[in-house]
Amino acid sequence: MSVLGDRPPTGRFDVTVAIVAFVVALVLVPLRFLSSEVYIGTIPPVVAVASGLYLLSVRRGATTRGPGWTVDGNGVALAELVGIGLAATVALAAVDGTRSVRVLLLSAAVGAVILLQIAFLSAEALDGRLVLLQVLAHAAVVRFTGLWTTPSFIGVDNWTHIVEYATPVMEGGSLAPMAGIKYFLAPVHHLATVVSAQLLGVSLRTALYAVVGGTVVLALILVFAIARHFVSTRWALLATAAFALADQAVRWGLHIIPTSLGLVFFLGVVYAVTRLLHVDSGPADWALLGICIVAVTFTHQLSAFVSLVFLGSGVLAQVLVSHVDWLTPVSGRSVTRGSTGSEESGPVADGGSVCGVVPLHGAFAFHLAFTGGVWAITPWRGEPFIARATQLFWLTVQNSAGFLNLVDSGGAASGGAAAAGSAGLGWLAAYVDAIGFLVLLFVTILGSLALVRRHRSPQAAHTLVVAIGVMLVFAFVLPLFGIRNFLPGRWYAFAYALMAVVGVAGLAHLGRRFPARAVAVLLVVLLLAYPFAMITAQKATLDDPTFEDEWPRYAYSEAELAAVETIGEATPDDAAALFTDHPYRTAFTGSGAHPASAVNFSRADDGGDLPYRRTVYRRYQSTAAPQFLDGSAVVTRQVSRDRVCPPTRNHVYANQGIRLCTRPDV
């Protein structure tokens, strides 16, 4: 064998796909000159490197030995270190009163310790249960320090779901106040919160955080349970930790809305399908799948759609595996069980028996029929949900779709700093925000190629890979054409769960193909970069952004919340809307204080005066990342107080940096 190994085998599905991906990625590299979007500039090189590395790996023979990069450390001592680190994180957050940058960096460092011990501890020193406990504890600390140090709610939609929907349900003792809205037939989140608040005798906020928030954290165990069907314990732990640390997973633990519970039930669906495709399943597994399908349908429409896409991917994989032999070159081999059960062998290895095809089309048909049926009777602004959603989609396709129509993509790359060419720290913020996803994408490409070639359940492998591909199309490709009806930003968390599982299979593949030293270096780089990038990313820091001048803060101080209440009470009910920044306007509307909109600076007259009768200024608008409208565009822009509240207006309310200004004639 040469240094690079033998020539890659031709005619293999994985190799063919890797070559195509490599070439296409190279061709797409010039796209960066058409758009300053970070992901357009970075994804093609990442895909090219990952597929190139895979092509390199298949030239090398696999080794059956365990990972040569592990060390005999003391797992208990590391667990203690993690415990002290987490206690320090809580203490620091308590002292700072927020998840400050140093709190974020400390929790990222603790996350790195967890990841590194998973990757580098020897099999003897690695206690799976102890590490899993650390992962859960870390996830809880990251999320609950944010929730605990933030007055009221984090995010926009929480105000709607708790104040506007759940509160009347709590007070009225019935779901009747939700009649007419689309959550009337997706009330699991609201019911769980209200029931918990009633039974525990606590506020809706406390019930939401303790019960639903706790469920979101504990459900991370499902990622381990899913991953364990694809990889060995070490890599399954890594997948769990990687998902727990992911910005999008943290996001739905801070901004706890139906999407959060939808993600939990989605993991249930994936777990049930994974079991069906791997073990000798029975009616219980189908029942588990059915329960999760019903639960996700009654929880959140988009989550149900994502679940439907996943199951549809499973059916597609079923068809492919059944009818396209060259997709599963290992199938039909005469194989032996070999060392399947050993700690480091895992299923991603040559040898081992191959499972048969499991029919998922019945489950998919049930999901489609049940979810479609519920949507047919779900009200949404006077129409059935499914009819209105379909109309909106076609309207978008006809009117606003167009290539590289990137306005307000709302996804991982959303926000004013998404463009790499932004001034100031914008470029740094954009790249920090992107690194975590790019790491995940890199290992996912490797894992996808490795799994479809080598996993002993080709249907399961293809299901995950196809699902990731389709989900990233919804998240990335459709927005490129201006189609955002499917809320692309919501898909990342769901995709990340699958990407974490597939990604660790990619790392395991590299571990078997490359020298231990090279693998160790790669792991150190990835596992150090990943937690710091993810924990400090925009979506993981909604409560107190790492780059406060670049990313909006979706949380408010006690003073800002008091101002919302007092200004709401002091504004006549029949008065026109208040105008302020986004997201502060959502605190007014969501809390029911008074209708509010974002200031649109294109409406200012020649002298710069805004035509609004009532405006609300807060110091944040001059010091951080407020968002306003300029015509139809959302702009992140710092403004002076006089711009929003000129001295020729009445300044009728003052509280720290907050002002309510009225036109003198109101």
Binding site: A77, E80, I84, A87, A88, V90, A91, V95, G173, S174, L175, P187, L191, A192, V195, S196, L199, L200, G201, G214, T215, L218, A219, L222, F224, R228, L261, Y271, R275, H278, V279, D280, G282, L288, I291, C292, R337, T340, G341, G346, S353, C355, G356, V358, S557, A559, A562, A570, P572, P647, T648, N650, H651, V652, Y653, A654, N655, P664, D665, V666
Partner: protein, 342 residues
Amino acid sequence: MTPTHISDRPFAGFADLVVIAALAVVFGALVAIAPAGGTPVHLLFGLPLLVFAPGYAVVAALYPQASTTTDESRPRGASVPESGRLAGALSPIGRFGASVPLSVAVVAAAGAVVNASPWLLRPLPLATAVVLATLAAVGAAAYRRHSLPEHLRYAPSVPWRGVAAAARPRLSVTFLLGVVLLASIAGAGAVAGGYAGPTDGDETQFTEFAVLTDDGSGGFVAGNYTETVAAGDPLSVYLANDEGEQTDYTVVLTRQTVGTDGSELAVVDATERDRRAVSLADGETAVLEYEPAPTDSDRPQRLRALLYRGDAPDSPTPESADRASHVWYDEDPEAALNGTAG
């Protein structure tokens, strides 16, 4: 353990279900006794019931058999049942993981059932529904488990000795000292922060200050200023103390006549009309009435209201004040300023 021993103990192999059922019954009784809840005991029993117990019972009913000894990563068709085990059973991790989403699903379903019933979503009906659902699942799990041969049943056991042995080295002196040290640092930090007193940068402690008008029905609104001034009615200065402690304030009310200096507004005449000391307890509010008393002038006039914590200086300014507000007496001060500019 031999089958003989199991049959001698009626709850052997069912201890987990007994614990779940007991938890449900105890919490149900707790809610019946104290439906208002909010006590640590409610949280102690309620949280595991809401987050884990019903789901665990449902999973136990779905999967009554013992967990497989085969590797979960082994493919379907390859996991041949080994002696005394069923291949399709859940691992303990899978059992725990599946319990979590199913619990919240059961809790929500219980709420939906109550909503569909004549009763309201109140503690007693909800507790009854959740407890009954949990007990029904426990019953189904017990029946299905009992239907299996004893050696195939899922029989969880808490390895107390193993837990104790594992806990000893893990809760080492180093770890405990570390936690104590950090707790001390946090406590010292919190105490130091508390003694630092309120500052304007600390947005957890604040005072609200507003100039409002009487809406005629006992309330106050941010509007109708020029009408109020024209009618000679008083303006209302509103204070709300959220500083976390008793706070002394001084409110200074000044009538200003304003002109321009280039493009900037400039006060051409100012008369301090009132200076009032107010002391408010934490959470207390006050409304001070002020007669605007406009004078005849070609220039626009306004009321400047300044708030100080403690005493106000002899020459109060918006820059030196803790809060500053102003209300114009004219409907269009800008036009008035333009008419008098220069």
